[in-house]
């Protein structure tokens, strides 16, 4: 259960990080749109700890977005 709790927490942390970065820096419209898509389809409070695959899937989306954002910023 600790693993699932960590996953859920991490989704929240990473969403916060991306949101903060988008607010502070010049991020391309594509990334902003991707982020809005993820946010609008995701309610963290309703994510089930029992559905590990879904948690990993959501986390994966955020990490990929963060990676794109990093590349966008350094280009």
């Amino acid at each position: 259960m600790l693993y699932e709790k960590s996953l859920k927490k991490l989704i929240k942390i990473n969403i916060m990080a991306v949101k903060k970065a988008i607010g502070a820096k010049k991020i391309s419209r594509g990334i902003k749109n991707s982020f809005e898509d993820i946010k609008s389809n995701l309610d963290i409070s309703k994510l089930s700890l029992a559905d590990k695959d879904e948690l990993i899937n959501e986390l994966d989306k955020i990490e990929k977005l963060a990676l794109k954002m990093k590349a966008d910023l350094s280009s």
């Binding site: 600790l2 709790k5 960590s6 996953l7 927490k9 991490l10 929240k12 942390i13 990473n14 916060m16 990080a17 991306v18 903060k20 970065a21 502070a24 820096k25 986390l59 955020i62 990490e63 963060a66 954002m69 990093k70």
Partner: protein, 696 residues
């Protein structure tokens, strides 16, 4: 500047004879706190301290100013004092025609920098101390030189007396020319081009760095050899990134040779300021806090990388030396020990074979000790012996027909006996003034020693010092004092004080997770931006806008034995930018690095910018943010810090605290380690080893 070279040649050929005197006098230095100034308080020369009253006096009397700069541990400063400034005939000339100002360069590096630049420009070569600068009554320098024997010094004085009387316009022309050069010197321009920090450039910088290393003897090729700890901290950082054994070899060869050389005090611990030869054998014997503090950091970090027990011994012995000879009971650290005692350079530290024979009273011990430390009957330096090592312990044990363990016991016993004998000698003079910037370096040294070895004593000593600095040097409005002696602080701090103390407080936060230190570091940087920052260039001035202005407001940008205050504060801005997610700090740091990049990337001598180079490394490989949060944070933190991990900043605690980077990271019933970059974190883990694997 061609005029100056001609000028220099003319005045150095002047000479005349004069009698000397020994009368006791008292001048305007009597109420100063600097030991160096107090050393001159009974000279017949009517010395004044540097202050507005003295400068007003020069203007009112329309006299030339002599600004004579030195420091307590400076051998040639003492020689010139003895030869010239204690001489009544010399004093008579100086008192009649000049307003004479004595400056302790460690207290007033701002004044030193202005007149030292004048010396570089006027003579066309590097200058040192004592520095003797002549200036017009308004403070504008007209010429500067260093040490002069008495006869030449009188010639110089007479030249300026004569020139002032006969050709005052000429002096004004010199001053105008020189002032323009001083004001331009060291100024950095804003670089408006795109900011690019690349691995290719970093590799070139490292390659150029290595070209200057003496891989046989360590250090930079040639003599004299200075320890320059920051150079090797950059190379350690690069070794971590590139894994190139040659990069590590540059560090370990240097550290091994220094630790075995005469520059290291094999009995009492600690390093002398530099070696006069290219083998680290013959030291210039003064011991400075700023060298030893940074060398503690360097040897501790090198131990983390190599686990070489020699490096641990060096840290232990050097901190013993610091605590025995340079630490006050209030937790502060003094500045330096002189090279001289009983009027002789190094007398406290060297031994004749006869002296050793009388102490050991055991021929075998003498023989083994002599083999171990290269002691000779005729001496290994000026008919006496400097302890240093060329042979390994195994070689000496073999030659002596004993086991390495027996050798270790014999040498340890001999060292105890010699220390007891040395303690009876007349000690070198102590400069017991306390400087914020140098204390900050030592504070960081103790933090680094604690990280590497986990010994609580190192942390306790660091905290005692930090508490002293907070109580005595830091004011409520975040202004700092530079100096402290006998409860008095009389000088406003300079940029190096703010930058180095902020750096030390950041380091202290990392080992305590006490956010107070991180916020204090931020307060110091905020204050520096308010009072030292130059909007036009994006760099920082060395002096505060609240201080009485000198003839030029200078910027310190080259990393010397102490890193440049601009490179240190640029790094502070970067680290605090990460901790506080402060984009303004980040942008300022990157702009400063960008402004300096062209000087560094194409330089054949990047060692003059070694701390900038480290920052460049951080720009190319941004540090991970590593958060340890939960009940068991202290144990995991200690385990993490035993490793050399220059590409990570550390934060955390039992709870989430107030830093945004820690938000949402507490998990009930567990202590988790988060490895993050740009605030985006990888899956948290519970083991330090697993977290380290997540770093590139």
């Amino acid at each position: 500047m061609r005029n100056y070279l001609v000028f220099f040649i003319i005045i150095t050929i002047f000479a005349c004879k004069t009698p000397s005197g020994n009368a006791q006098y008292s001048n305007h230095l009597a109420n100063e706190s600097s030991p160096y100034l107090l050393q001159h308080a009974n000279n017949p020369v009517d010395w004044h301290p540097w202050n507005k009253e003295t400068l007003a006096k020069a203007k009112a009397e329309n006299k030339l100013i002599l600004v004579s700069v030195g420091y307590s541990a400076c051998h040639w400063c003492h020689v010139m004092e003895h030869e010239s400034f204690e001489d009544t005939a010399v004093a008579r000339i100086m008192n009649e025609h000049f307003v004479n100002i004595k400056v302790d360069r460690e207290e007033r590096p701002d004044v030193d920098d202005v007149y030292m630049t004048a010396c570089h420009l006027a003579t066309g070569r590097n200058c040192g101390w004592p520095l003797n600068a002549f200036a017009l009554p308004d403070g504008r320098p007209i010429w500067a030189g260093t040490y002069f024997p008495k006869k030449e010094w009188i010639g110089v004085l007479e030249y300026f007396i004569k020139t002032k009387e006969e050709e005052p316009v000429k002096l004004d022309e010199y001053a105008t020319e020189l002032l323009a050069g001083i004001q331009q010197n060291g100024r950095i321009s804003f670089n408006g081009s795109d900011q690019v920090f690349t691995q290719d450039n970093l590799s070139n910088i490292t390659a150029n760095f290595l070209k200057n290393i003496d891989f046989k003897k360590g250090g930079r090729a040639g003599a004299p050899k200075f320890p320059m700890p920051n150079n090797y901290q950059f190379l350690l950082q690069q070794y971590y990134q590139n894994g190139d054994e040659k990069t590590l070899e540059a560090v370990t060869t240097t550290l091994d040779k220094m630790a075995n050389g005469g520059i290291y005090d094999h009995l009492g611990g600690g390093f002398a300021r530099y070696a006069t030869d290219d083998k680290w054998k013959v030291p210039h014997f003064e011991k400075m806090l700023y060298d030893n503090s940074q060398l503690v950091s360097l040897y501790a970090q090198a131990y983390q990388v190599t686990k070489n027990p020699l490096y641990k011994t060096v840290v232990e012995e050097t901190t013993d030396f610091i605590e025995r000879e340079l630490m006050d009971k209030n937790g502060s650290f003094y500045s330096s020990l002189d090279a001289d005692s009983e009027g002789e350079e190094g007398k406290f530290y060297v031994w004749t074979e006869e002296e050793l024979a009388a102490i050991f009273q055991d021929d075998n011990q003498l023989k083994i000790f002599s083999n171990y430390y290269e002691i000779y009957k005729k001496g290994n330096w000026e008919h006496t012996n400097i302890l240093h090592r060329k042979k390994s312990a195994e070689e000496v044990a073999k030659i002596s027909g004993i086991t390495p363990t027996e050798l270790e016991t014999i040498i340890a016993d001999a060292k105890v006996q010699l220390m007891a004998a040395r303690d009876k000698r007349v000690r070198p003079g102590l400069d017991d003034k306390v400087l914020t910037s140098w204390n900050a370096l030592m504070l960081k040294g103790y933090v680094d020693a604690y990280k590497a070895f986990g010994d609580a004593h190192y942390l306790e000593t660091a905290l005692n010092n930090a508490n002293f600095l907070e109580k005595e040097m830091l004011q409520k409005d975040n202004r700092l004092n530079r100096n402290y002696k006998d409860g008095k602080s009389v000088i406003n701090a300079f940029l190096d004080d703010y930058a180095l103390l902020a750096d030390a407080f950041i380091a202290l936060y990392e080992v305590t997770f006490d956010e107070k230190w991180l916020y204090k570091a931020k307060d110091l940087v905020d204050y520096s931006i308010a009072h030292f920052f130059d909007e036009k260039s994006g760099m920082f001035n060395y002096t505060s806008d609240l201080d009485p202005p000198l003839i030029a407001r200078k910027m310190e940008t080259s990393d010397n034995v102490i890193p440049a205050s601009n490179s240190v504060i640029a790094k502070d801005l970067y680290l605090l930018g990460l901790y506080f997610y402060n984009q303004d700090f980040m942008a300022k740091s990157k702009q400063m690095m960008h402004n300096m990049s062209s000087s560094i990337v194409d330089s054949d001598q990047p060692n003059f910018y070694s701390n900038w180079c480290s920052l460049y490394g951080m720009m190319v490989h941004p540090p991970y943010e590593v958060a340890i949060v939960g009940d068991n944070y202290a144990t995991l933190k200690k385990e993490w810090q035993a490793n050399y991990l220059p590409n990570a900043i550390l934060l955390g605690g039992k709870n989430e605290g107030t830093l945004e980077l820690l938000e949402s990271k507490l998990q009930e019933g567990a202590t988790m380690i988060y490895v993050c970059q740009n605030k985006v974190c990888k899956f948290p883990v519970e083991e330090v080893g697993e977290a380290i694997k997540m770093l590139d």
